[in-house]
């Protein structure tokens, strides 16, 4: 903070208050309302006056197999796809950093997927993975394999969702890792090169440890963002077959907007919030340990 500390300047409030108020009114205050609703039984059709039920909604959720199922599905999709995103994104960033020919063209193309609406990506994936009319099965057929029912078989559908998430978000990892690579001091690598340290040793001993804090942050962002996934699933499988690919957000949406069970949905979104906060904290604690060992 290079700012001169002029604490008395009242104009600073004029700068920060509008943004502060909007977040307060649009994000935090509705949360307070939803928090109280989560302890009530509310029926919309037919309308019944809200009734305080304590932790009943939360108990219903925790004993619901569908909740744990969607939790498990979300975790698998997010963890596996983030591993792929990180490995691929880092590898691509390294390749671009070392000036593969045509890097300029690649840069824009590689960025593209993360700017497309997930709904569009899911619609395209639906075409690509269509059992009879899609190019993937066309290619498999040409290689002599049978048609694969990608979207109607539980594990395959989860696999497709992982592929789609990886396709869309590897660019994000690549972008940040590339920026990290460009900010590393050139001298260290020069010295290592003079000493004839082989390329993979340079990576393992210098590049990777130096980028570890950034890696921790990038993976954290992707995990948090990944947990929110709904649009891709909504379009690609609708949660099916059955509820095999239902993610947490989709589950909450289905409860709230198909059954109009407002109390339960509020409780569900707060359970979701607690899950995110707890797992985020655990991740950061583990990451801190890892960083300390390397530092």
């Amino acid at each position: 903070m290079q700012a001169a500390p002029n604490r008395g300047d009242a104009v600073k409030y004029a700068f920060i208050w509008p943004a502060f108020l909007i977040v307060l009114v649009v994000t935090l205050f509705p949360l307070i309302y939803a928090l109280t609703v989560s302890f009530q039984a509310v029926r919309v059709v037919p309308p019944l006056p809200p009734r305080f039920v304590g932790f009943e909604n939360y108990e219903t959720i925790l004993s619901s197999a569908r909740f744990w199922g969607s939790m498990w599905t979300t975790t698998i999709i997010v963890v596996v796809s983030v591993v792929f995103q990180y490995v691929l994104g880092f590898a691509l960033a390294l390749a671009l950093h070392h000036n593969v020919r045509g890097a300029d063209l690649y840069r824009v193309t590689f960025l593209l997927p993360m700017f497309l609406a997930p709904v569009c990506v899911a619609l395209i994936a639906r075409m690509i993975f269509h059992p009879y009319l899609g190019p993937v099965n066309d290619a498999l057929d040409a290689m002599g394999f049978d048609y694969v029912p990608f979207l109607t078989e539980a594990w395959l559908a989860i696999g497709v969702l992982i592929v789609v998430e990886t396709w869309q978000w590897t660019p994000f990892v690549m972008l940040l890792m590339l920026a990290g690579l460009q900010s590393l001091p050139e001298e260290v690598f020069e010295a290592a090169r003079v000493d004839n340290v082989p390329a993979w040793r340079r990576f393992v001993d210098i590049t990777f440890p130096m980028l570890l804090p950034l890696s921790v942050a990038v993976i954290f962002i992707r995990l948090i963002e990944g947990f929110k996934v709904i649009d891709t699933v909504f379009v690609l499988t609708g949660g099916g077959p059955g509820t095999a690919t239902e993610t947490l957000t989709l589950f909450a949406y289905n409860e709230g907007f198909k059954k109009f069970n407002l109390g339960l949905t509020s409780a569900l979104s707060f359970t979701f919030l607690i899950v995110v906060i707890v797992s985020g904290t655990v991740y950061l604690l583990l990451a801190q340990r890892l960083l300390r060992r390397y530092a």
């Binding site: 001169a4 309302y33 690649y106 193309t109 395209i124 075409m127 396709w167 920026a179 929110k228 979701f272």
Partner: protein
């Protein structure tokens, strides 16, 4: 020798990934020009060889033959444009305050805020049976007054500084959006019953999206504004030019590349946003992602129609990605990772 090997792996990897990135886009692009028969008889790839391209799908879509197409385009354009401008503007102001001034909020004052707001709401709405909007309004004012007064008292305990306030803004992104979106839906519904329609309106969507974009705007603009040299501003202060004028006439022009980049990022997020639009609109102000999601179930295998709608949604974002890609080359974004 080994260096050569790695180089080759790099070239191979980028080529493969290039194909993986481009092929789906190519496929949807050509599909938009396909006649139905080129879709229903298995995949076709090369126009003029595999099939005879036609503009029929575009004509169908834009003639409104298959449902309103202009409506969602207009809503998407107007909502995301207005929301992006406002959110980047307000975010930049907040970021400027966080970079140039020092804020101290006592932790106890913050806790007082939480206690008064939650406790007050439960009391007013639950016990005194007030309507939700009235109760929230009263609680908002009361808790702000209490916590601001508390902040002036010589309270013990730690104080939160600028970093914490920035984190508070950014932490809105950690919330699963279903929590915020669903809560906002409930509140909008209540306000609608009280005579202020916000569900499925332009104002309601823009308001939601300003809050949605603010975390990005504050976070990115803080880094860009930190890079703006303070000397010019100090000189202007000596000349007794007001802060507001300094901000509008000196800081904003100097931060222009940052403003453009931030606007592009925020625009992309708002343009592509699905969940808020799904919950808060029902017809008139439906945005393109919602139209697209509906296409899937209503159109089935009419890929040419889906491809046209997809292309219309994608093209603005291709422009955005190109602009950002150019900026990235000039090293603009490398500063914002810290």
């Amino acid at each position: 020798m080994a260096e050569q090997g790695w180089k080759r792996i790099g070239v191979g990897l980028t080529l493969v990934w290039f194909f993986i990135c481009v092929f789906p886009l190519y496929f949807v692009f050509v599909t938009a020009f396909k006649p139905p028969i080129a879709v229903s008889q298995g995949p076709t790839y090369i126009p003029f060889v595999d099939f005879q391209p036609t503009l029929q799908a575009f004509r169908d879509a834009f003639s409104g033959l298959r449902g309103d197409f202009y409506g969602p385009i207009v809503s998407s354009l107007s909502i995301s444009f207005v929301a992006t401008v406002l959110s980047v503007f307000l975010g930049t102001m907040a970021a400027y305050a966080l970079v140039r001034f020092e804020f101290r909020v006592k932790l106890l004052a913050g806790i007082a805020f939480a206690v008064v707001s939650i406790g007050g709401f439960v009391l007013l709405e639950g016990v005194l049976a007030m309507s939700v909007p009235t109760a929230l309004g009263i609680v908002l004012v009361a808790s702000l007054v209490v916590s601001m007064a508390a902040n002036r008292l010589p309270l013990p305990g730690p104080a939160l500084g600028n970093r914490d306030i920035t984190f508070w803004f950014v932490s809105q992104r950690i919330f699963p959006p279903i929590v915020a979106a669903f809560a906002l839906f409930l509140l909008y519904a209540e306000l609608g019953r009280a005579g202020l329609p916000l569900l499925d309106t332009f104002a309601g969507m823009v308001l939601a999206y300003i809050a949605f974009g603010l975390p990005f705007a504050v976070w990115l603009m803080r880094d860009f504004l930190e890079a703006v040299p303070i000397e010019v501003e100090e000189a202007a202060l000596v000349d007794d030019i007001g802060r507001m004028r300094i901000f509008f006439q000196i800081v904003l022009p100097m931060a222009r590349p940052g403003l453009i980049a931030t606007s592009m990022v925020v625009l992309a997020f708002i343009w592509n946003e699905f969940l808020f639009a799904l919950l808060l609109t029902s017809g008139q102000w439906q945005t393109l992602p919602i139209l697209l999601a509906g296409q899937n179930s209503s159109r089935g295998d009419e890929w040419w129609a889906i491809a046209v709608a997809t292309l219309v949604t994608i093209i603005p974002m291709i422009i955005v990605a190109t602009i950002l890609g150019r900026m990235m080359r000039s090293g603009l974004l490398s500063g914002s990772i810290k």
